[in-house]
């Protein structure tokens, strides 16, 4: 992503947060030594459960919240000490925060009006922005005459109109219904690539994060747990929490007895590829789609024995809930391929586990 040696990056849209700390009421640690580098033009997502500090981080970047310590640089310039109106950063708020007393055009032109640009310039830019968010011809409407999705587009156009170096999005899709949300997800991605503006997107929805982001920072309790591309985060989670929070995961308690070798509670042993780390208790992460039912006369590879508890067919996939002989329960998902289920409840089966599909994470 072309970060500089110091990690700050000097491109105008590159954001660097260093050792940010923020405490509320003396006890709640909203930001606990957060350091993040975001490259110019990146779609970067802050992902975490509510109360993890992601919104506080966003508000600190926008200038609504002052960090107790640490620095924020944008394009190599410090933002600290600048009031929100002075920061080349705009925000799309969760509740849209579209001005109800202004027309759509007045809303979109607001930032330029504040810069005292000539009326003709503002009008031209407003038209351009309305076209960008596909609201042509609605400039004269009041926000109350628009649907939720349209208001969201107005908020987007308004935040992008003054060409900020950084766009902050605070759970902008959470108020929309599922269909609109899927639509707006693609729309946001398109807007980001068309404008080339750095997007910092806050969400608690791991699906949103995986589908839209260039990179994701997973946060919990004011700390950044892991930063990486969606593939890295999903395939190689660094912590049990990350594995559990992103996507579905089978989490098996195990003991590492040698690098790459693990013993489960019932005594069965498993191998995992690409594994290093000290011996001792770990959690093995196995994605449901990476485990498979072994064929009746399949002898190769490592497997675990168990009994099918439940079979859930949902069209594209069939999910098998399997009680392992060791006591743990495992979910595995096979594509249905139009065929009948490979096993029924009560059947004894073997679950084939490729060493490359297993990953050990510390608790």
């Amino acid at each position: 992503m072309g970060l500089g040696e110091d990690g700050a990056g000097s491109a105008p849209g590159a954001l660097s947060c260093r050792n940010l700390r923020k405490t509320f009421g003396g006890t709640v640690r909203a930001l606990d030594d957060v350091s993040i580098d975001i490259a110019a033009g990146e779609f970067f997502t802050l992902l975490g459960p509510s109360g993890c500090g992601k919104t506080t981080l966003l508000r600190a970047i926008a200038g609504f919240e002052a960090q107790d310590s640490g620095t924020i640089h944008l394009g190599g310039q410090p933002l600290d000490g600048l009031a929100p109106p002075q920061r080349p950063v705009n925000t799309v708020f969760q509740s849209y925060a579209v001005f109800p007393h202004m027309t759509v055009a007045e809303n979109v032109g607001f930032a330029l009006e504040m810069q005292r640009r000539p009326k003709a310039v503002i009008a031209a830019r407003v038209e351009e922005m309305l076209a960008l968010v596909r609201l042509q011809g609605l400039g004269g409407r009041k926000p109350s005459q628009l649907s939720g999705g349209q208001q969201q587009r107005v908020a987007l156009a308004r935040a992008l109109a003054a060409t900020p170096r950084l766009l902050l999005l605070d759970e902008p899709l959470s108020a929309l219904d599922l269909k609109l949300r899927n639509e707006m997800r693609l729309e946001l991605k398109r807007l980001q690539s068309e404008t080339g503006i750095t997007f910092v997107f806050v969400t608690h929805d791991q699906h949103e994060a995986l589908t839209m982001s260039d990179r994701i920072a997973v946060m919990r309790d004011g700390k950044v747990l892991q930063v990486g591309t969606p593939t890295e985060i999903y395939e190689r989670p660094a912590l049990r929490f990350v594995a559990d929070f992103i996507g579905e995961a089978n989490l098996l308690e195990a003991t590492r007895i040698a690098p790459g070798r693990f013993r489960l509670a019932g005594g069965a042993e498993l191998d995992a590829a690409e594994d290093t780390g000290p011996t001792g208790p770990v959690t093995l992460v196995l994605r449901p789609e990476r485990a498979h039912l072994a064929g009746p006369d399949e002898a190769e590879g490592q497997s675990l024995a168990g009994a099918v508890e439940q079979v859930v067919y949902d069209g594209a996939d069939t999910t098998y809930h399997i009680a392992l002989d060791s006591g743990a329960t495992l979910r595995l998902r096979e594509p249905s391929h139009g065929a009948p289920a490979q096993a029924r409840a009560g059947d004894s089966v073997r679950v084939r586990i490729d060493p490359a599909s297993l990953r050990a994470v510390p608790d």
């Binding site: 109106p85 925060a97 001005f99 109800p100 007393h101 504040m114 810069q115």
Partner: protein, 288 residues
């Protein structure tokens, strides 16, 4: 079903009829009767004399002459109520802004403090202002001690004192609606304005003021209309020299013993206020 719903309106209908419509009808009837010199009216008589005498008086020789005295009293009432409205708005807006941005707990306390004067009778509070404004009163003594003034303050028993009294009496009615509408504004809208590059003054003029228009309009109505009809402040602080409509009407039912004229004045005032309210509504119709 429909009948049942209409029945539910009956209690409020009775109350409104008994305390609003009935007195108004009585007042209208009284205004169209001849006065009884000993007070009250002559039943069964009908005349519009009361309304005519608002503009014309009978000269010594019995002919009618135009008389601007009552018009002047109405004009003074509108001017004094207007100045009280403007002054109380100027005080209420910054106060309401400040209050609305306090922590929620302190806001409750502040609202309580604003309503505190209502716990004391308006008459008593106006007497208190007399003590403050009078010759050798509290204000004069403070100004003398600090050397800011050497002569007399000379405010008591002037229209200025009346305006001060009106502003003081009606300030909470301006402050509370404005405060409520500012407090109701979604904070995200204010943050969004700051975020989009608006400095404080422009956040105020472009976002806060337009969104608190309903409160401002309410405050203006609640101060201006009762202000016109006020009679305690002009009597006590204005010294009865700068009479307002309220005093005039009160006098007709009191020592002047001219009920029809008092009733007629009340109706003229009502008509003017309704006209003003209508214009006001037309003016603010575009507000959200």
């Amino acid at each position: 079903m429909k009948r049942g719903r209409a029945l539910l309106l009956l209690p409020s209908g009775i109350v409104i009829g008994a305390v609003l419509v009935l007195p108004l009808v009585m007042l209208l009837v009284i205004s169209l009767m001849q006065r009884n010199p000993n007070g009250g009216i002559v039943w069964g008589s009908f005349t519009v004399d009361a309304y005519v005498s608002f503009l014309w008086e009978r000269g010594f020789s019995g002919e009618r002459e135009l008389n601007w005295d009552y018009v002047a009293i109405f004009a003074r009432s509108f001017a004094l109520a207007g100045s009280a409205t403007v002054t109380s708005f100027a005080i209420a807006l910054p106060t309401a802004l400040w209050m609305a941005f306090q922590p929620p707990k302190r806001r409750l306390l502040l609202v309580f403090l604003v309503t505190l004067p209502f716990w004391t009778n308006l008459l008593v509070r106006n007497y208190a202002w007399m003590l403050l404004l009078r010759v050798d009163g509290v204000f004069e003594q403070i100004l003398h001690t600090t050397g800011l003034l050497t002569g007399r303050l000379g405010i008591l028993y002037t229209p200025t004192a009346t305006a001060i009294g009106l502003t003081y009496s009606f300030l909470p009615f301006m402050l509370l609606p404005i405060y409520l509408s500012i407090e109701k504004i979604d904070r995200r809208l204010i943050e969004a304005a700051f975020d989009l590059g608006a400095v404080r003054f422009r956040v105020l003029t472009r976002v806060i003021l337009p969104l608190s228009m309903p409160g401002i309009a309410g405050g203006v109505v609640l101060v201006f209309i009762p202000g016109i009809g006020a009679f305690i402040s002009p009597e006590l602080l204005g010294g009865g020299k700068s009479m307002m409509v309220g005093n005039l009407i009160q006098a007709q039912f009191g020592y002047s013993r001219n009920w029809p004229f008092g009733a007629a004045l009340a109706f003229v005032l009502l008509a003017l206020v309704l006209a003003a309210t209508y214009l006001h509504r037309v003016r603010f119709r575009s507000a959200p």
